[in-house]
Each structure stands twice: as C-alpha cells, then as structure tokens.
C-alpha cells in the first residue's frame, strides 16, 4: 500500500505537551493520513499559532474549531463531533476515522494499521459494553451516569457535584433515557467507519441525543459507544488503542523502560506516553519502520503488569507492615505472610523437643521467642534474620510487629517457636487472630518443669499459681470466637493418652505433602512422682486444674511410654 492511500483519517485531540503532539501528528501525516487536529481552547493563542504554523506544508492536516474541553464533560464529545465532521467533509477518500489524543503513540508502522483496516473495511473498532452487565467503572457511578444529571464539574466543583448526586439520589430522581437507546460504555478511543460515523453525526434524532448526553457523566466514554450500536451491526468491541486504567480510572503512563514491552505487544497505538519519554518517541516515530507484521495485538503481558500494579495498590502484600502500608485493624489482608507453628508446653514435657522437631522436619525451630529475658532465636543467636534483635525491650516495643517481621523476613521457610505462660502476654491476641498460626497447647505442662526445678515448695506454689493464671487467660483468648488461628488444646493428661498420635497429627498438618513418619521420638521428661507433686500442690490449696486428671499414683492406664527411653514407631 502506498502513502497516497487516504483511507485512514486521524482525529487528534490535543491539550498539553504540544511539541510531542506535533511530532505524532507529523508522523501520521507523513505516512499519508489526513489529520484533523483539535487544540484545546485553554492552550494560549501564541503557542497554538506556532503549533499550527508547523503544519503549513501539509495540506492534509486541518485544524477544527477550538473548544475549551474539560475532563468528564460534554465539551470533549462536542470537540470530537466538530473535528469528525470536518474530517468527513474535507477528505472524501477516508474510510476509517481513528480517534487519538496528542499523547497517543503509534507503535506499528501506519501501513500495518491501514492494511489491517483494509482487510476489515466494514468493521467498527469501538469498545462498547452494556452497563447492565459490566460493573467496571470506578467510583460507583455506572448506571447512574445515565440516569442522573451532572451539570457541575467534578474537577472544579467537587462539592456541588457530590452534593447534587446525593440530592438526586435522595429524592429518587431518574432521567428518562431517549427511546431506542441502550447505554453502552467503553474506551474513549475508537476507530469507526465513515458509514457509521456519518450515520451518528447525521442522524435525524441527533439533537435529542445530544441534549440527553450533554448531562451524562463522562459522555466521551458513552456517546459514540452507545450510538454506534444503533447505527451499525458490525462492531468489534475493543479499542485499537492500548490504554490501561488504574483503580482511580486514570490511564497508566508508559515510560522508556516499557520499550520492549510495547514493541512485543503488537498494538497499533498506545496511550498515555510520558511526554519526556525520549526513547519511546525516537524509536516508534522513526521514518522507515522495517518489516511489516500482520499479527493481532497481544496485550497479555502488559495487562498482567498493570493489573499486578493495581492489586499492589489496593490489596498490597499480605503480612507486610511498612511506611506506605500500615493497615487499620482488620484490614491487614493477612496478619502475617506465611503459616507458622506455636508449641506451648511441649518443651516442658519433652526434654529435647526443639532439637527433635528441627531434626525430623527440617524447619526453623526457635525457643521461647517471647521469653522474659531474651528472644530465644534458633541457635541462640543474638541477632536474627533482617537484623531482629533478641533484646526483650526491643522485641516488646511491638510484639506483633516483631513476629510479623520475623515471618516476613523468613518467608519461604516455615517457622516454629515455643510459647509459655511466662512469656510476653500481649502477643496472645495477635497469634490468635492470625489464620497463619498453628497453635498447639498442652495445658498445665509448665508444672513438669516446676516439678523438676530445685526450688522451695512455697516458691513453686507461687509460680504455679501465676503460671496457671496466665495460661488460663491465654486459653480464654484461644477459645474466643474471634480466634482465627488453628488451635489445638489438650490438657496434659489428655495429651499423654496418645502422645505419639498427637505429635504425628501436628507434624502432618505442618508438612502436609510429606508423608513423614518419624522413627525417633522426643525424650519424655521423667514423670515418676509427678502425680504426688500435683497432689501436694492441691493439698496446699493450689489446684492445677489445667493439667487435667492426672492420677496421683502415676499409674497411667495405657501409658506406653517407659520414662526416659525413646519410643519407636514402626
């Protein structure tokens, strides 16, 4: 196809970055496209005249009457109408009219686009979705943009705008939509055939339609989109212009570092381009643009990048607390970023529980992270991943964030730690509310370490009372209806009935995919005389009820565990 083929006309709406808009207009014109440019009225007269002078040598570039355009309002549609009329009247060869803005950049050779359209001479490319079915607008005004009136500017008169919307909602106002119209919406950037465009502009009912759309909210996204449906059956509901909108309804901007991405997308035109993206403009506006491709636009990769960006902005990374993401309570979308396990009482009941657990599961097992005198990181380290300090004051500055940081810093590796009634109590609620926490409690097991301690009985009694009180409060939290953690609570007596099965179950839950059967059991602390010890506590008025019903003579029915010797499961 040669450059005197004038089948493709371009209507260009220009309001800022005139220099870039001029380059793009030259590019279109050089490649044989008649161009009609609408320069916004707000552009100062001198700059506009300089801009126009640059096109003195191009007979196929015309300028349409200038209007003051405002985003979201009728003036943009009106400007498009005027420019389109001029286009259709002055260039009778034009078969397709392409609507573009000054910050649109053609990515493929214009000939490609002409060929593409030449093969589809009757097709209108206009994104046009029924508002009934597609709730994709931002800010809630989807159907209402057609049934309320919008006489105020959203940009300049926000309060009046919002107030008037509210008022109309309250009194139940509803505009009548002109007959035969079914509201459709879509991208502002279209490419219509002469037939369809002239049918819209010359329609006998145009006055009525215009009067209606004048008070519709953002009519540039609905005027042509709706009317094209009336005048043509041959509608391909997509835009040839690649535009991505973010969650505020604002177009994403392309920069130099998007060059490869844009090149591989095979899109014809992209917007918006940052005006100072020199490399993009240089690359895509080069004169001879090499081999011709016929591929369809493929925007998957770009789509993914931008939808990821929107998700990052609206949902963020779960379990991350930082200086630009600090969710209110309940909006964390995950208190922590990965599952972890908390063991309470296991370290008291088994002598080598931590070492055993890390040996058989291979995960990171910490001691009491919230111990009163130090955070017991794995291996007794005083600083841990991310620079977390084991200093208790630093940790207790904010225990929840300390834990969330630890899980975040070690993401990819499962963490487990011990917790007990002596530890920082504030962390209890945080863990309980966290669905990532797997909390397993053997209540009353703290009595075992007291039993083995070398303290005076009166001290033991005092400590036992304190621990029981702390643990009871903690268990109350774990049993609250607000708890989202995976909680399992046994009294010590219950746990001892089938200890190996219970351990196996926990490990299966931690490592669901490995069918790990452990051959080595953790070493049970000696319990001979423990029953008597409990009875002694009771005799002193301190009933260790959290231990459960532990027989005073230590004769455990079905207790298979010869104290002090490892137990093997076949």
């Amino acid at each position: 196809m040669s450059t005197d083929d004038r089948s493709l006309g371009v209507v260009l709406l220009v309001h800022t970055a005139l220099e870039r808009a001029g380059q793009v207009a030259h590019h279109w014109a050089r490649n044989g496209c008649p161009v009609v440019i609408h320069v916004d009225r707000r552009v100062p007269r001198e700059s506009c005249q300089a801009f126009m002078r640059a096109f003195a040598d191009y007979p196929a570039v015309r300028f349409s009457r200038r209007l003051r355009c405002e985003w979201g309002r009728w003036s943009i549609v009106r400007a498009t109408q005027i420019a389109s009329e001029l286009m259709l009247a002055s260039f009778p060869d034009v078969r397709h009219v392409f609507l573009a803005s000054g910050s649109c950049l053609p990515l493929r050779p214009i000939d490609d686009l002409r060929t593409y359209l030449g093969e589809r001479p009757e097709t209108n490319f206009i994104e046009s979705a029924s508002t009934e079915d597609v709730p994709w607008t931002v800010g809630g005004l989807d159907k209402e943009r057609f049934t309320l009136r919008f006489p105020f500017s959203w940009k300049r008169q926000r309060r009046l705008f919002d107030g008037y919307v509210k008022l109309q909602r309250r009194i139940g106002y509803c505009r009548t939509i002109p007959e035969g119209i079914l509201p459709h919406m879509g991208s502002q950037w279209w490419c219509l055939t002469r037939q369809t465009l002239s049918a819209i502009l010359e329609s006998p009912r145009r006055k009525e339609y215009d009067r209606y759309f004048r008070r519709v909210w953002i009519p540039d996204e609905s005027y042509f989109q709706t009317l094209a449906r009336i005048h043509s059956r041959n509608i391909e509901s997509r835009s040839l212009t690649l535009t991505k909108f973010d969650y505020q309804g604002k177009p994403h901007v392309f920069y130099d570092d998007h060059l490869q991405l844009l090149r591989r997308s095979d899109c014809f035109v992209a917007r918006k381009i940052w005006p100072k993206a020199d490399r993009l403009y240089q690359t895509f506006l080069r004169k001879s643009s090499g081999s011709r491709r016929t591929g369809e636009p493929d925007t998957n990769k770009i789509d993914r990048i931008f939808s990821d960006a929107v998700a990052r902005r609206t949902r963020g990374r779960p379990g991350l607390y930082m200086h630009s993401r600090f969710p209110n309570e309940g909006w964390e979308n995950g208190l922590t970023c990965a599952p972890y396990s908390v063991f309470e009482g296991f370290g008291d009941l088994f002598q080598n529980f931590e070492a055993w657990l890390s040996r058989i599961t291979g995960i990171r097992v910490h001691g009491h992270l919230f111990a009163p005198d130090e955070a017991e990181f794995e291996g007794g380290q005083s600083v841990y991943c991310g620079g977390l300090s084991s200093h208790p004051a630093t940790r207790d500055r904010n225990p929840g964030q300390f834990l969330a940081s630890l899980i975040w810093n070690m993401r990819g590796e499962r963490q487990a730690f011990q917790y007990g009634p002596d530890d920082t109590p504030e962390i209890g609620w945080f863990m309980a509310k966290d669905p990532n926490a797997q909390i397993s409690v053997i209540s009353g097991a703290w009595a075992v370490s007291l039993f083995h301690s070398n303290l005076d009985f009166s001290t033991i009694r005092k400590i036992a009372a304190l621990r029981q009180k702390a643990e009871a409060a903690h268990l109350e939290i774990l049993r609250s209806p607000h708890t989202k953690a995976r909680v399992r609570i046994w009294t010590m007596a219950e746990f001892m009935e089938t200890p190996m099965d219970n351990l196996q179950m926990l490990i299966d839950e931690m490592l669901p995919r490995s069918s790990l059967r452990f051959s080595e059991a953790p070493r049970l602390a000696s319990l001979s005389g423990f029953g008597k010890f409990l009875q002694n506590l009771k005799n002193h008025g301190m009933h260790p009820y959290l231990v459960g019903n532990f027989p005073p003579d230590n004769a455990f029915p079905g207790h298979p565990w010869p104290a002090g010797r490892p137990y093997l499961v076949k």
């Binding site: 604002k250 969710p327 620079g387 904010n398 975040w408």
Partner: protein
C-alpha cells in the same frame, strides 16, 4: 466539637510555624542568588549543611542526575570551604547563617522560610547532605516522571523511609574520598527490624529500627531515632514542616501510607551517615549540643562506638538496587508500573 477544636489548634500551630519561618529568614544572609533561574515546573532541592565539603560533590551530582533543577542550600557556619565551593555552582542558590541550628527548630524554620518564598507551586525535595533518595524505577525514570505521575494521581506528598547504611568492619576503616559513591563503602543495611506506630496528632507514621535501634537503643527502643520522612512535596506557601521532614502541616500531607490494606507508592532515603567522617562529627556534636534532645543520639553513639564499632552482622543485607528494597518490603511501587 473536639474535632473542630483540634483542627483549629493545628491551623494555629501551622500559622505559628509560618510566622517563625518568615522571622527566621532574617537570620539567613544571601551568598549566591540564582533563584531567577528557577523555571516553571522545575524541581527544587532544599538542604541545610555544616562542614560537608567532602560530601558535596557526590551529593550534587547524584541529585542533578536524578533531575533536580535547582538547589536552595543553607550553610550553617561552615569553615571547611563548603561555602565557597557551593557559591561557585551554577545551579545553587546559597544562604549562610552563623545562628543556632537548634534554635531554628533544628533548621526546620530556615527550610520552611526558603520553601515558602521560592518553592510555591514546585515539587520540592528536602533532604540532608547524607540522604540519597531512591524511588521505584529511579534507575530508568527521572524524578520528573515521578512528580508528573504523583500530580496526575492528585498526590501531593511522597514518603520515604530512612535506611541507615553501614560498612562491614569498623566504620572508620575505609576513608571516604570526595566525589565517591558513599555506598561503595557503606553498602550494608538492616532489612527487617522496623517498628511502626501511628502518631494520632499529626497522623504520620512513626518508624523506628535499623542498626541504630539494634546497636544503640536496644534497651530503650522508644528513644531510637525516627526513620519516617516525607521529603518530596508539591509545595504550597501555606505548608510547613513540623520537625525535620518527619511530618508536615496541614496533616493531610502526612498520609503517605495506605490504611485499608493496599500499598502507596513510596521510596527510601539511603542514609550515608556511618562513614569515617562520623566519629569526628559525633565528637563535635557532643560539645556543640545542637542536635535533637540535647544530642542524646550522638552521646549514645559516642559511648557505643568506642567499644565495638562494627554495625555489621551476619544478617546484614548488601545493597543492590531499588528492586531489592521493593522486594524486601522497604518501599513500594504501589500502582506505578
């Protein structure tokens, strides 16, 4: 009613600070005035300094590269040649003052004064000479791209967290040469030991942590220095920084974080404080007592650095680029893609 009262109080405070800023401008003596060169849409950089000659060449080149068009600098009584060096730079306007840094609210009044007079309608970056701004895509997109995008998104202020960078080994082991990238020496940082709290009065976040909290304030973390900063603002003459660049009034400018689960676009300020120049500075500050809270920070450093001057630990992270900081969760692209 209390809401109205509080907003009235904050407005009064802002006006008080602005009056102070205008009054304190009298303390500044103009050394080199090139403010006539400031064009429409230029991005400005404002900083206060004292005896930073060795750091200046890299500071200026770093920010020129990033896209700063004009520097507005305040020299607080340097005697190491900083003033003459800066006065010769074509894109620097320089003021100088021998007055007390502390009594100018740690320089904030001076900065507010210059911002009010020269930065109205401009994007302004307020940093210290040892702070280097990193933002998403800073290796491919100039600061102007960020400013344009923020403006199109109706965002007026941009938050950045201060990240203390340190060398491996004694901080005075490798001397820093003028013009050198300080992060060739101090390239390590703490990646995940920060705590955050909301300040109900000004609505800013209060961030603490990093090596300074880990090493110097472990037993009294509340006194660890604040790391939250809002260095980049589309300035209006009615705005005022309250304390350093930690917070501003009106307080809506402090909402550089998202409260409903998402992430706002943010950056980091790499802090090149811990170089061999530091010990000298700390010793000087001990006698001058011109820093915040009677320089308690410097006293803490001085004591600790005498014993074990290595901030590095085996969990320290080595700096690569902004993407690394993004992945570590120290800054965010937000919806800028």
């Amino acid at each position: 009613m209390s809401r109205v009262w509080r907003s009235y109080r904050l407005r009064a405070e802002r006006q008080r600070r602005l009056v102070r800023a205008i009054r304190k401008r009298g303390e500044l003596r103009l050394v080199a005035d090139r403010t006539a060169l400031i064009g429409k849409g230029d991005i400005l950089c404002v900083a206060t300094l004292r005896n930073e000659q060795v750091r200046l060449p890299y500071f200026l080149s770093y920010y020129r590269n990033l896209g700063i068009d004009h520097f507005l600098l305040i020299d607080n009584d340097s005697n190491d040649g900083s003033r003459d060096y800066l006065a010769d730079q074509a894109d620097v306007s320089l003021w100088s003052t021998p007055k007390s840094y502390k009594r100018a609210n740690f320089g904030t009044d001076w900065v507010n004064g210059l911002l009010r007079k020269h930065a109205h309608g401009h994007w302004a970056l307020v940093v210290d000479i040892d702070e280097f701004l990193i933002y998403p895509f800073c290796d491919t997109r100039p600061l102007g791209a960020l400013a344009d995008w923020l403006e199109a998104s109706s965002v007026r202020s941009f938050g950045a967290m201060l990240i203390d960078m340190y060398p491996k080994g004694r901080i005075d082991a490798v001397p820093y040469r003028p013009g050198q990238d300080p992060f060739e020496i101090a390239c390590w940082f703490d990646s995940g030991n920060y705590v955050i709290e909301k300040n109900p009065k000004y609505r800013n976040l209060w961030v603490q942590g990093g090596p300074r909290m880990r090493m110097f304030f472990a037993d009294d973390p509340m006194r660890a220095p604040a790391l939250n900063k809002i260095p980049l603002v589309k300035w209006n003459r009615r705005y005022a920084y309250v304390s350093s660049t930690h917070m501003l009034l009106p307080r809506g400018l402090n909402l550089v974080y998202e409260e409903w689960g998402g992430e706002k676009t943010s950056g980091c300020l790499l802090h090149a404080k811990f170089l061999n120049t530091f010990s000298e500075k700390a010793a000087e500050e001990l006698t001058r007592r011109q820093h915040y809270a009677d320089s308690h920070e410097y006293r803490a450093y001085h004591d600790r650095l005498k014993e074990s001057p290595d901030l590095w630990c085996k969990w320290s992270e080595k700096y690569i680029n902004w993407r690394q900081l993004e992945i570590l969760g120290l800054m965010s692209k937000g919806n800028w893609a």
